[in-house]
């Protein structure tokens, strides 16, 4: 049983500030973490492994420093780690990212692929399902519970806005998880010691052999033209006078705004 978990290293958004001049993230001094939804994906993979056995491989596409995210995943209990890093991958949008990850996963071999539902920086929720499309396998997005698992089949609860769906899927399959699925574990000492020593496998396009035109910026059908922080309009009006007077004023404002 090969379980592949795709993770993304993201800035810890609790600490992030935006440069008002350039409108980009100030990344200096901001700690990098594993995307929180991906932590739930790792936990799901480890729980499946504990139940039916297998190997958990964590995969990330990113700059060389994304290696720390992979080591963190090893300290939690993942067996193998692969870093997908190549200048040719730079500037990928969700289409090119999914295409590249799918190519790497084909090389690694897979029965189950698990992703977090989305990354907290891009927030698109497109890469997971995109990978499944490129691999031509079924996918189940927003999984909140693994109800049952056998050697061939997974039964999953899928959390929708207004209902749950119970989905049965044959392997190979990709699913993305929401945070309700589990509580991610803390690292173990043995895991941390292993994480220090393990050699992270590095993969470039030379090993995957994908069409260079479909990679990175040139392979991305969408491109970011501009980024800006929205203006925050703080319009404030103080009501004055006695209580009755203030209530009357408030009512007329609310009527004006068609709130009542």
């Amino acid at each position: 049983m090969n379980i592949v978990v795709c993770v993304k290293q993201v800035p810890d958004t609790a600490e992030v500030k935006i440069d008002p001049k350039t409108n980009t993230l100030i990344r200096d001094g901001v700690p990098s973490i594993i995307n929180p939804y991906d932590m739930h994906a790792i936990e799901a993979a480890l729980e499946i492994k504990e139940k039916i056995g297998g190997t958990v491989t964590v995969l990330t596409m990113g700059p060389p420093q994304a290696e720390t995210a992979l080591r963190d995943a090893i300290s939690l209990g993942a067996d193998e780690a692969v870093l997908l890093s190549d200048r040719a991958f730079a500037g990928s949008d969700t289409w090119a990212t999914a295409y590249t990850l799918a190519g790497a996963i084909k090389k690694i071999g897979f029965d189950i692929i698990i992703c977090g539902k989305q990354a907290i920086d891009g927030d698109t929720a497109q890469v997971g399902p995109g990978i499944a499309e490129f691999l031509n396998i079924p996918h189940v997005a927003f999984v909140s519970k693994i109800k049952d698992i056998t050697e061939q089949t997974l039964t999953l609860d899928r959390m929708m806005d207004d209902r749950y769906e119970i989905v049965e899927a044959d392997m190979p399959v990709l699913f993305t998880v929401v945070k309700e699925i589990n509580v991610p574990r803390l690292p173990s000492l043995k895991g941390k010691i292993k994480a220090k020593k393990i050699e992270i496998k590095k993969m470039t396009n030379a090993e995957i052999g994908l069409d260079v035109e479909s990679l990175g910026l040139s392979g991305s059908p969408t491109q970011v033209k501009n980024i800006f922080a929205p203006d925050i309009v703080k319009d404030r009006k103080m009501l004055e006078g006695g209580v009755e007077e203030q209530v009357n004023q408030l009512m007329s404002v609310l009527k004006e705004l068609k709130c009542v």
Binding site: R185, L186, S188, L189, K190, G191, K192, I193
Partner: protein, 387 residues
Amino acid sequence: MDYFLNEEQQMIKDLARQIANEKIIPIRAELDEKETFPYEVVDALAKADMFGLFIPEEYGGLGKGSFELCLAVEQLSKACLGISTVYAANALGAYPILLFGTDEQKKKYLPSIATGKKLVAFGLTEANAGSDAGGIQTTAVKDGNEYILNGTKQWITNGGEASIYTIIALTDKSKGARGASAFIVEKGTPGFTFGKKEKKMGIRASSTCELVFNDCRIPAENLLSAEGRGFLVAMKTLDQSRVGVGSQGVGVAQGGLDEAVNFASMRVQFGKPIISFQAIQHMLANMAAKTEAARALVYSVARYIDGGAKDFSKVSAMAKVFATDTAMEVTVDAVQIMGGSGYMKDYPVEKMMRDAKILQIYEGTNQIQRNVIGQCIFKEVVKNKKG
């Protein structure tokens, strides 16, 4: 201060702190209030390999020493002494097997202790045998391939929750302490039951209860070391564990100090944060200096033990007595600095103060520790005169 931790020691300290912050601090007040055993935290500690810290690698542990155990205990104690007592008492129960067990006994028991699957407890104290541990009355009578245990152990930490118990009982009543032997007793053995669960002033998340042996038959192979060596097993075990109690003292003292500093810098009286007043600064200075001194002593003793020292009763007792007296003093002062707020359950320092008191009492009262230190000094003088 830099205590020159190596990479793995730093890792152990960081992970213990992470467990303390994420798993212990959010629930410590509730566990204390309801006297609930911390099953979730025990599970988290087990998954993090913390129970295997001091167990040799060949038995599934990490093969670390007293120092690493102290680093972990200190971080847990900073958050909750009740929970760190569960953890440290587990080590206390495991040491007799680790120090005196045969390879077979170690193979049978240590792996499940290392994974945290089974908790251990140490049973020496009885109603009439506290500081005078030689006064125990529980008996173990050999009958063919078995020993039959009779008697009651009192105030046993992890009692009821542990699966494995290391018990001191008399195999020869006529010889007193020299007639004591150590045994491994498993929970569920017929004739072995649990008496009343104690209600305590502090460390209320830990379980403390009576162990009752009523014609309890255990296999003769569960004897640790040899007949008549039980008192030695107990004393060597306590020498080993006392430095760990010292690290509990350092942890809770640091916890109290941090709370007091934090509060004093926020609390404004007479138009200024109270930390700007000399009266408060002098108290904080004493608390900080004593805590650091206790830490330096505990770390030195733990490293001395790990270095292969043969006889460390004196220094181990010194670490215990100094660090735990410090813990009591610092937590009382933390409450004082925080005034009415410190006395209320809204803040953690009143719990720290209640918890700290046990450190001066258990695993040998601080008066007994001073006896140990004093007797060692006396023996050294006699030896030097002769030499």
